[in-house]
């Protein structure tokens, strides 16, 4: 009896506590001001958001500096750092230079959240960013509450591209669903009578998001997904997917997983038409796979400096010259180009914010970022960066030429956004 009484008392106390908290359901007040607008309403420190930035604008990224993605992010950081050096050498934003620093997110949401807050509160970062959907999810609200711009974060999740919900953030990567629609269209062109697709899926959010988006894009078309396997064990995945007899393999994979899957399908003697997502767009992920990677296709929006089609263009010449001056270690790497391209986005935002009537502040940076619509010099001609509609506006298909050990153009740019 006493136990029942204690239980009843506990439940009653809990309910009373909840009632004291203001009822059972949430009220709909917002933290960051009217939807879609960039304001300092709800900021924990509104004065900091409108205070002019002098001397240097601090840019803090928390990205994987350890673990399987460390190699990729070292190159991207190098590319971005080199672009910021070039930006500073050119006088910065009305004399305000960019001070770029990184911390290790370990691709862990809790670590990323802690690092994001530390970068803002301890290091005084004026702009922060991260990579990975889970990491973006944990940091995006904190950045908004602190009114610190969260710029060009690398997540392709459509959720965080919504500027009405997240006015203090912009994303760099194209939305997954737009990319998979382009892939499905390319498959339809290649197989006019219909095609069956097997999906090799990364055991990560990226893998799941790409797989789900691909399936959705294929709905109502003559492209049918007939098999799906996790590439946690690439050999097992290759065997399973081969058994489906699919015409096409879509790799919803990231970085080294792309190479591992290609190598595995070569090992089991399967030769489907291969498509990979954009996170696999680097020569280092194809060359070691040998003939198995031949004709594998991938969509890209940044130039490939080594390709003859791009090598002679003024944009690539300028990039290589500036990269050399800035001390970029591996300018031919596609990841370095990615880092440089994100740097282009930042340089444009900072320049325009500095020219705004308010001058360079966190608020003016965010306003400039929301209005951003320009052509980064390292983007393929015809493809732009438009923040309001989700970042990258198009993609161009490439295929891997195993004999030449290089990508080759496989079609015209597809405008997706």
């Amino acid at each position: 009896m006493r136990r029942r009484l204690a239980l009843t008392a506990t439940v009653a106390a809990t309910c009373l506590l909840a009632t004291a908290c203001g009822g059972i359901t949430n009220t709909g007040d917002t933290a960051t001001g009217p939807a879609g607008s960039v304001t300092t309403d709800g900021c924990t420190d509104p004065a900091a958001a409108t205070k002019p930035i002098t001397g240097a604008v601090k840019i803090g990224w928390t990205v994987p500096l350890s673990g399987p993605f460390q190699g990729v992010w070292t190159l991207i950081n190098d590319g971005f750092g080199a672009r910021m050096k070039a930006f500073n050498a050119a006088g910065g934003a009305n004399g305000v230079t960019a001070d770029f620093f990184t911390t290790d997110s370990k691709l862990d949401p809790e670590v990323s959240k802690a690092m994001g807050n530390e970068m803002v509160q301890k290091d005084g970062a004026d702009i922060i960013s991260t990579t990975g959907t889970a990491q973006v999810a944990t940091m995006i609200d904190d950045a908004a509450a602190a009114c610190v711009p969260f710029l060009a974060a690398t997540s392709s999740s459509p959720i965080y591209h919504d500027t009405t919900k997240y006015p203090w953030a912009t994303l760099y990567l194209p939305q997954t669903d737009l990319e998979t629609k382009a892939v499905v269209k390319a498959i339809e062109r290649q197989f006019p009578n219909g095609a069956t697709v097997a999906v090799g899926k990364s055991p990560s959010e990226t893998g799941s998001i790409y797989t789900d988006a691909f399936k959705k894009s294929a709905q109502g078309t003559n492209v049918k997904v007939v098999a799906e396997a996790s590439v946690a064990d690439p050999n097992a995945a290759a065997t399973t997917l081969k058994a489906s007899g699919a015409d096409v393999l879509f790799g919803a994979t990231s970085a080294q997983e792309c190479l591992a899957l290609t190598t595995a399908i070569g090992r089991v003697g399967w030769k489907p038409t291969i498509y990979y997502d954009t996170t696999c767009a680097d020569t280092k992920l194809y060359a070691p796979a040998g003939a198995a990677a031949d004709n594998a296709q991938v969509f890209k929006y940044e130039v490939l400096p080594a390709l003859p089609q791009f090598a002679g263009t003024p944009a690539v010449k300028d990039y290589l010259a500036a990269a050399k001056t800035s001390g970029l270690k591996d300018p031919m790497s596609n990841w370095s180009v990615t880092g440089w391209s994100i740097g282009e986005v930042y340089a444009d935002v900072l320049t325009r914010a500095a020219k705004s009537p308010e001058g360079l502040t966190r608020l003016s940076i965010m306003k400039a970022a929301q209005d951003q619509d320009f052509h980064p010099s390292t983007f393929i001609s015809g493809i732009d960066y438009h923040a309001a509609t989700g970042g990258v506006t198009g993609m161009q298909p490439f295929r891997w030429d195993a004999a030449a050990q290089q990508f080759a153009l496989a079609g015209d740019p597809v405008i997706i956004n």
């Binding site: 439940v11 809990t14 506590l17 909840a18 004291a20 908290c21 203001g22 009822g23 059972i24 359901t25 949430n26 007040d29 917002t30 933290a31 709800g42 924990t44 420190d45 500096l65 350890s66 673990g67 460390q70 911390t103 290790d104 370990k106 862990d108 949401p109 809790e110 670590v111 959240k113 802690a114 807050n117 530390e118 803002v120 509160q121 301890k122 959907t133 889970a134 999810a137 944990t138 995006i140 609200d141 904190d142 908004a144 509450a145 999740s157 959720i159 055991p203 990560s204 959010e205 893998g207 799941s208 998001i209 789900d212």
Partner: protein
């Protein structure tokens, strides 16, 4: 006529030579001073923590939440001797219960806490059912399967959990309630105090449990299952109850985690890596100790941060691994276990009326 000589007065026993230690008798003024001083230190630490910068307080909050989860793990693995590597799933049950109720049903986060605990108790009891038949490595395999399957289940239940993209508990739902008198900007303090309260309640429950018949049954099952059964302990019930209690506590930690992080994803905080982190924290802190989970959580949360300041990138991970090996090698009983041993070598706690306890003056007179 026989006369009986009066019995000689009984002198209190003294500690044997070579075992001279500070004698603390339960209920004595010395004991009271020690207890009071301990609580004052705890209160001082809490007050000092609330004065930390927000990002530092956030990290402390994270450690408090991990400590709560380890307290839950300690119930099954420490006190009952059932190795579980699936507690990341129980953490996820609590976190997703809160997340789903807030995001899908628009409920206040505070009201979701008891629901999360009940969900944790039910799932914990369900996970505990196999322990009736299996134990040791086989039980570890079952819980491992849970840890591996849980993120997949979350991804499959897209309509409820948001699938791979996860759930975002908007920060606007997580501000301090008005009755606390805290402002929106003081959310880190609110989260810290809420998490600390949850931890304190859990530690109190486990402290009480240890002293109850259930606690004795758990220890008996851990030390010798057959002997415990022969003495009338309902082994099956004890194991299932241990898992249920552990599930409730760990789910409470999960609910706190959902409110602290504000975003949930299957590949985020609920993978096998989190289960290993909790287990590492328990072993490093001290299995079956009251304070072990606190110390263990501090180690797993703060050590990587401190090492990242010493070595960059991959080197920090290697150094962290090496340090863990060294700690386990040097202190197999855990940090608190070793401290307890050192403490006992210097201080002797005895109950009132123990032969070593000095007789109160009034009795001697």
């Amino acid at each position: 006529m026989t006369t009986t000589a009066p019995a000689p007065a009984v002198e209190p026993a003294t500690l044997p030579r070579g075992r001279r230690r500070l004698l603390v008798v339960a209920g004595s003024p010395r004991h009271t001073v020690l207890i009071t001083a301990s609580w004052l230190v705890v209160a001082l630490l809490v007050v000092l923590a609330t004065g930390l910068a927000d990002y530092q307080l956030g990290r402390v909050t994270n450690a408090v939440i991990i400590a709560t989860a380890i307290v839950g793990l300690n119930v099954v693995t420490g006190y009952t001797g059932l190795l579980s590597v699936g507690h990341s799933a129980l953490l996820g049950v609590g976190a997703y219960t809160t997340g789903v109720l807030v995001v899908k049903l628009n409920l206040q986060p505070m009201i979701t806490i008891p629901v999360a605990v009940v969900a944790g108790v039910l799932v914990g009891a369900f996970v505990g059912l196999p322990t009736i038949r299996i134990r040791g490595l086989y039980l570890a395999m079952v819980t491992l399967a849970l840890a591996v399957a849980f993120p997949e289940i979350l991804q499959a239940a897209t309509g409820l959990t948001g699938g791979a993209a996860g759930l975002v508990v908007s920060v606007r739902y997580l501000f301090p309630p008005e009755w606390t008198g805290l402002t929106r900007a003081q959310r880190p303090i609110w989260m810290f105090l809420l998490s600390l309260t949850a931890l304190a309640v859990c530690m109190l429950i486990v402290w009480w449990m240890q002293r109850s018949r259930l606690g004795r049954d758990m220890r008996a099952v851990r030390d010798h299952e057959a002997a415990a059964e022969s003495f009338g302990v309902n082994v099956a019930r004890t194991k299932v109850v241990a898992f249920a209690l552990s599930g409730g506590i760990t789910a409470l930690a999960g609910s706190m985690l959902a409110m602290y992080v504000g975003a949930l994803s299957p590949a985020g905080s609920f993978t096998i890596l989190k289960a290993i982190e909790l287990l590492s924290g328990l072993i490093l802190g001290g299995v079956a100790t009251q304070l072990g989970p606190l110390v263990g959580a501090a180690v797993v949360v703060y050590l990587p941060v401190l090492l990242a300041g010493v070595v960059n990138g991959q080197g920090a991970g290697v150094l962290f691994g090496l340090l863990l090996i060294v700690i386990v090698f040097v202190m197999p009983e855990g940090i608190v276990g070793r401290l307890n041993a050192g403490w006992r070598a210097r201080v002797e706690f005895v109950p009132r009326g123990h032969p070593y306890a000095p007789t109160p003056r009034r009795e001697r007179a």
